[in-house]
Symmetry: C2
C-alpha cells in the first residue's frame, strides 16, 4: 500500500506523516540549506551566515505527565530537548521563543516555576528569551518552543554522510531515562532500588543535560564527523535514521553500549533486560555520531578535555538498512531498520 | 491587590500573566533589542543585522472552530496572524517553522489542506518553510507557528513613541472579521444578508490579508511612523496598547472609523451597533499607527501606490491612559484604557 492510499494518521504513522508533509511543502528554496528531515533546519540568514532553527512541542499525557513532573524541571526539559537538537548539528543556540497552551485551572505557581526552570537553563547556555505566546488551552497543557542559533557555514553535522567502516560512538550512558520513567510509573514500588539510584535515574528522565559543550568542542576540532543525531527515540531507532539517510547499515555490539552503575544495579536486582533498555530506551539526549576509525584517538582527547565520556558501540556497514546485533558467542541478530517509536500508532 | 497576591490565572488575566512572565524572564540581554511586550521581538543576529521574530499559538475552540473553518483557510490564517505581527513592526518575513498538536482522529486530508493553505501564503510572500514538529495531542488540535524575518536596524516600528497631536490612522475597514464570526455563529440564519455579503465577511474572518506590502512601503518611505500595532484585539484595545506604551491618551471619532459596505448593510438591516463592531471587533489584522500630522499627506501618496486605503480616525493626546470618543453633537465618552479582551477571564 502506498502512502497515498492510506487515509488515517494511525495507518500512516508519525514518520509517514513527516514524509508526506515534506513532499508537499518542499519546493526549491534558495534560503534553506537543510530542511525537514534532520534534527534542525539550517538556512542562509545572509550571504555569509547560516542560522540553525529547531522547534519542539510537548503535550501533557504524551511527552510528560504534569502530575509527576516538577514544573521547574519541565521548564528545563522543554528547552533541553531543543538544545540537544541544536547540539546534534554542531550549532550554538542563541535565542528562544516559547508558547504555552494553558488550562484555566493551572495554578500560577506552576507557571512561575516552569519559567524559572526555563530561565535557569537559558542562563547556563547564555540564551536570550525573545518572547512567546500564552494562550488558553481548555483541554490540556502543552509547550511549543523554537530555538534559533548559529552554525558555521563550513562545519555542521547531519544524519547523512556516514560511510561503511566508520566508527559509531555515543556520549554518556544509555537507558537511564527510560528506566527513570519506569520508576515513576512504578507506583506500588515493585522495583527494588536505593533512594539515591531512584533519584539519579528519575533526574535523567526529568532533567536531561543537552551535550552542547561537547558538540561545540567537536565542531571546533578537526575530527571528521560524518554524521550525528541526538538520541531521543532510542539508540536503535536513531541509528536507523543515520543509516537511512546515509544509505548504509550498522553492526552494533549490545554489550559495548555504555550504561550507568544505577541502571546496572536495577537491572540485576529486578530481572530487567539491560540490553533492551540501552538499545531502545528513549530520551537520553546523548549524542550518537560516526567518524572515520582513524579519528577515534583524536576524538578521545577531546572527550577528556570536556569531561564527557564517549564509547564506540559499533561500526557502519555497506549493508543498507540492516542493523546487525553482534553479541560475543551468539549468532548475530539481524534487524531491518524500522521507523521505531511512533506517537500516532 | 498587587499581582503578587493574585493566585489564579483568571484573577490575573492574560495581560497580567504576560507582565508577570516578562518581569521574571527579562534580564539584561545584549542581544535582545526589543523583547516581550510588542508585536514581535527584535534581536541582534550579528553586528550589523537585526532579526525579527514572532510566535503565535491557536487552539481549536478558542481561536478557531475546526467544524466551521475550512482547513486550507486555517492553514493560511495561522500564518497570516504572524505575518501581520511582522508587518506591524515594519519587518520582512523570511522563514517559518510550524508545530501541530494533532488528535489521532483527525483525517489526513485535513492536514493536506491545512499545509496546502500554509504553503500558498508562503509562496505569496516568498517565505521558506524550514521545518516543524507534529505531535499527538489527544485532547484537541492546535497550531504553534514561529516566523523569523529581517528588519532594518535604523527603521522599525514599535508601540511606544506616539506623541500628543500625532494622527491616528488605520488601514482597510474594521469590524468585518467580528461580523463574519457572528454570521458563522448564526446557525438559525436570523441575520438578514445577501449570500455575497455573507461570503465576503466570513472570508474576512477566515482568510485575513496581512498588510505586508503596505508596511514595507511605509518602512521604505520617509514618513515618520511614531508607533504601530496590528489590530488583532480590536481598535479600542490595540490603541490602548499604543497609549499605554507611549504614555499618552487618544481622541477617537467613532464615525470616522472606516467600515465596509457589507458591514454597513448588515448593521442597517439587522439593528446591529456599527460603532461597537468597528471599535471593539477583533481579528481584522489591519494596521493601526500614528504619524506627525504634517506627514499625513505624504502617507496618502503611498497608500495610492500600494492600493491600500488608510483613514485617519483620531489623534493622540497628552491625557495619559484616557480614550475619549468624540461623536459629533454628542458629549464625549471618556473611557479608561483597559487591557481588553482576555482569554483567561
Amino acid at each position: 500500500m502506498t502512502s497515498e492510499r492510506k487515509t488515517s494518521l494511525s495507518q500512516l504513522g508519525e514518520f509517514g506523516l513527516i514524509d508526506r508533509i515534506s513532499q508537499r511543502l518542499q519546493g526549491k528554496s534558495a534560503v534553506i540549506v537543510k530542511g525537514i528531515g534532520d534534527d534542525c533546519a539550517i538556512y542562509r540568514a545572509s550571504k555569509d551566515r547560516y542560522q540553525i532553527i529547531t522547534t519542539d512541542a510537548l503535550v501533557d499525557g504524551v511527552h510528560f505527565h504534569l502530575a509527576s513532573h516538577p514544573p521547574r524541571l519541565l521548564g528545563r526539559k522543554s528547552l533541553a530537548v531543543s538544545l540537544s537538537d541544536i547540539s546534534a548539528m554542531g550549532g550554538t543556540p542563541r535565542t528562544v521563543v516559547i508558547s504555552l497552551g494553558i488550562p484555566k485551572s493551572l495554578p500560577l505557581t506552576f507557571l512561575d516555576h516552569f519559567y524559572e526552570g526555563l530561565h535557569s537553563l537559558c542562563k547556563e547556555f547564555n540564551i536570550s528569551i525573545a518572547g512567546g505566546d500564552t494562550v488558553q488551552s481548555p483541554k490540556g497543557f502543552w509547550v511549543s518552543l523554537t530555538v534559533i542559533g548559529e552554525v558555521r557555514k563550513d562545519r555542521f553535522f547531519t544524519r547523512a554522510g556516514a560511510k561503511a567502516g566508520h566508527a559509531i560512538l555515543v556520549t554518556g550512558t544509555l537507558g537511564d531515562s527510560a528506566l527513570g520513567l519506569k520508576l515513576l510509573s512504578d507506583s506500588s514500588n515493585n522495583l527494588k532500588t536505593s533512594k539515591a539510584n531512584r533519584r539519579t535515574l528519575i533526574a535523567r528522565h526529568q532533567n536531561p543535560t543537552p551535550r552542547i559543550a561537547f558538540a561545540k568542542a567537536l565542531a571546533r576540532s578537526s575530527v571528521r564527523v560524518s554524521s550525528m543525531i541526538d538520541i531521543s527515540d532510542g539508540l536503535e531507532q536513531d541509528l536507523g535514521h543515520i543509516c537511512q539517510q546515509s544509505g548504509k547499515g550498522a553492526d552494533l555490539d549490545p554489550d559495548s553500549i555504555p550504561t550507568s552503575k544505577e541502571l546496572n544495579y536495577l537491572c540485576k536486582n529486578n530481572d530487567l533486560n539491560q540490553t533492551s533498555l540501552s538499545l531502545t530506551g528513549g530520551e537520553d539526549y546523548e549524542l550518537l555520531f560516526t567518524t572515520p576509525a582513524e579519528d577515534v584517538k583524536k576524538l578521545m582527547k577531546i572527550t577528556l578535555k570536556v569531561g564527557v565520556s564517549v564509547t564506540q558501540v559499533g561500526k557502519m556497514t555497506s549493508d543498507q538498512s540492516t542493523l546487525r546485533l553482534l553479541k560475543a558467542n551468539e549468532s548475530p541478530q539481524i534487524r531491518k531498520i524500522t521507523s521505531g517509536f511512533d506517537h500516532f500508532r
